[in-house]
């Protein structure tokens, strides 16, 4: 009853070994597939009112921390060679902003930090790209949290808490993966 398998093997053997152009199956070991995956990342939109604390005092910065699970996937973690972070920022406020993005692990150890992004007042289309090569920043793949701190430029005057002008941040990531089969 095992003969069908035996025969199948023989047939395959015949098919692959009878007459054929010289084939080199080892080439497959050299195959590297290189998907480039893009994904939206974080986004937010704030109005001046959100910079005022419960006592009605204007804060100079706000901070948000969120978990970051891109590297939970072992495939991404092991085979990523480069990451591009892109931000698209609209600043309708009457003052400039500085955005600081920090990549942290579970113990809040700083693993990587963007160059500060400075957005002048009234800049409605600020684009920024940070390229991170894993070979020179191997720790970044241990990131589990991202902290974004938005710092207001000190103009000496307070904002109007009822102003409806927005500060918007959109972001995406491009993951360059290179993996053997």
């Amino acid at each position: 009853m095992k003969s069908i398998l035996r025969i199948s093997i023989i047939c395959c053997f015949l098919v692959f070994n009878s007459c054929y152009e010289e084939l080199d199956f080892d080439q497959i070991n050299e195959y590297i597939y290189k998907p480039v995956i893009t994904s939206s990342l974080t986004f937010f939109s704030v109005v001046p009112g959100q910079f005022f604390n419960a006592a009605g005092v204007q804060e100079t910065s706000i901070t948000s921390e969120s978990d970051f699970r891109v590297f939970e996937d072992s495939f991404v973690k092991n085979d990523i060679v480069k990451i591009d972070f892109n931000t698209l920022i609209k600043n309708e406020f009457d003052r400039g902003f500085t955005i600081n993005v920090s990549f942290l692990d579970d113990n809040n150890t700083l693993l990587y930090q963007f160059t500060s992004i400075v957005i002048p007042a009234g800049d409605l289309e600020n684009t920024f790209t940070e390229e991170v090569f894993i070979s020179t920043n191997p720790a970044i793949v241990n990131t589990t949290k991202v902290r974004i701190r938005a710092e207001l430029e000190d103009t000496g005057t307070n904002m109007n808490p009822n102003d409806t002008n927005e500060f918007e941040l959109k972001s995406s990531v491009i993951l360059y993966i290179e993996s053997e089969l």
Binding site: C11, I28, E30, F43, V46, S171
Partner: protein, 445 residues
């Protein structure tokens, strides 16, 4: 739409040299002997490999080109209709005898291994290139289509010579499936487009994926024992029924029409089944950051949960039916040449012509369309004991498929060997398909 496979076109064997195996292609094939028995395990061995869209040498030729370039080119050239298939059949037992003068009863058991997989072009594009170069493109999962079967077929058939012109025949089959895996009729699109709240919005739309398995998984573990599969080809738990019917009609002494419908049947898979389905829709535009606790923005956990809720993966162990691949053969044969006599089962002599030409049409229903093959053939009996056949076939794989067959009878021992795609035999690695059938029989007049 039913994914149908198990479809080796045996155009050379069909109606050839009164071989017992022709009865499996048309139960109304004319045979003129008293008794036959196939040499166990060696009476019918056939194998067939085909790949449409890409051949081995496209990828593995030793041509100093980068493998990445070759694979990229091969994927680029694939269409959603391209596939690869393999089919191997081996007769364990095949015998037959004449019941009364006009009836020939035949029976046997064969095992068959068959697999077909369409190339999921969009998935290959995504894996090799990612979505970044393809913003706004809808990647479809509909290209995920495959079926693989390993089964045993117990069969018995009878042909009746109604009169000098008409022979009819039928065959009853009991299928015992040892393994079936299939996935077909999948839907689902993955699209990345420019977003509103964020740079991109990602959509998973109309996802409906189904994967059926039978005989593969028991108690959530893969069955790895080969003997277990082999045992299940004989009266295992996943049984099915089917029939073949056929007709041969002599329009004039020289012109003959024949036709058959094979494997009209099904298998009911009820033991060791496990089916997985993935359905739903999902939209993702990134993680909204909270600076304001009054707003209910999503964080990663919520997105994870929403993904699981909106695109649930469910398993069930329900029984299901898989349809057998129904095949159609039609042939018109014109006999000519020298008029000879040969001795028949009733010690009478049958006159036959040494030469014949004709046309054969073969059809099997595939998921995307019927797969037709048209064959022209020339048959020549060199002596009463040596028959040859040359075929030229046009099908999905090739417009230049030349095949040849030889059947030789030495005493009571018959040997036949048939090979397809002769023009490509010199370089099989560049052939889109190749097949052969061979076997030994004892035939007694």
């Amino acid at each position: 739409m039913v994914l149908q496979t198990l479809a080796q076109n045996k155009q050379i064997l069909y109606n050839f040299a009164e071989l017992p195996q022709t009865l499996l292609l048309n139960p109304a094939s004319e045979v003129n002997y008293k008794f036959h028995v196939g040499v166990p395990l060696l009476s019918g061995i056939s194998s067939d490999f085909g790949s449409k869209g890409v051949v081995l040498s496209d990828i593995f030729a030793n041509d100093n080109r980068s493998i990445n370039d070759k694979i990229a080119e091969a994927i680029r050239n694939l269409s959603y209709r391209d596939f690869t298939k393999i089919n191997t059949q081996i007769e364990i037992l095949n015998a037959g005898f004449r019941l009364k003068d006009d009836y020939y009863l035949s029976f046997g058991f064969y095992q068959e291994l068959d697999a077909i997989g369409y190339y999921p072009k969009d998935a290959l594009d995504f894996i090799s290139e990612g979505n970044a170069p393809h913003v706004n493109r809808a990647f479809s999962v509909a290209g995920v289509r495959y079926k693989a079967d390993f089964l045993g077929v117990l069969h018995t058939g009878i042909s009746k010579k109604v009169d000098d012109k008409l022979t009819i025949g039928g065959r009853f089959k009991i299928y015992s499936s040892a393994l079936n895996v299939e996935s077909n009729n999948n839907t689902g699109l993955f699209t990345t487009t420019g977003g509103i709240n964020n740079i991109y919005t990602h959509y998973l739309t109309d996802v409906n994926l189904k994967f059926k398995t039978s005989g593969l998984i028991e108690n959530n573990e893969y069955i790895t024992d080969v003997n277990y599969y082999l045992k299940n080809t004989i009266f295992g738990s996943n049984l099915g029924l089917g029939i073949d019917v056929g007709v041969t009609y002599r329009i004039t002494p020289q012109l003959e029409f024949s036709g058959s419908i094979l494997d009209l049947g099904f298998i009911n898979h009820k033991k060791n089944t496990k089916n997985t389905s993935i359905t739903g829709n999902f939209v993702f535009e990134g993680v909204a950051l909270e600076f304001d606790n009054d707003n209910n923005f999503e964080n990663w956990d919520e997105i994870d949960q929403r993904f699981q809720d909106e695109i649930p993966v469910t398993d069930d162990f329900e029984s299901y039916i898989s349809w057998r691949p129904t095949k159609l053969n039609l042939a018109l044969k014109y006999n000519f040449g020298e008029y000879r006599s040969k001795i028949c089962y009733d010690n009478t002599y049958k006159n036959f012509y040494t030469d014949a030409i004709g046309l054969q049409l073969y059809n099997v229903f595939r998921p995307l369309s019927s797969q037709l093959a048209l064959t022209g053939f020339y048959e020549k009996a060199i002596t009463n004991k040596i028959h040859t056949k040359l075929t030229y076939t046009i099908d999905d794989f090739s417009y230049t498929n030349v095949g040849a067959g030889l059947s030789v009878q030495l005493g009571n021992v018959n040997f036949y060997g048939l090979v397809d795609n002769l023009l490509e035999y010199g370089d099989l690695s560049s052939a889109n398909s190749a097949s052969f059938q061979l076997g030994f029989n004892l035939i007694l007049n």
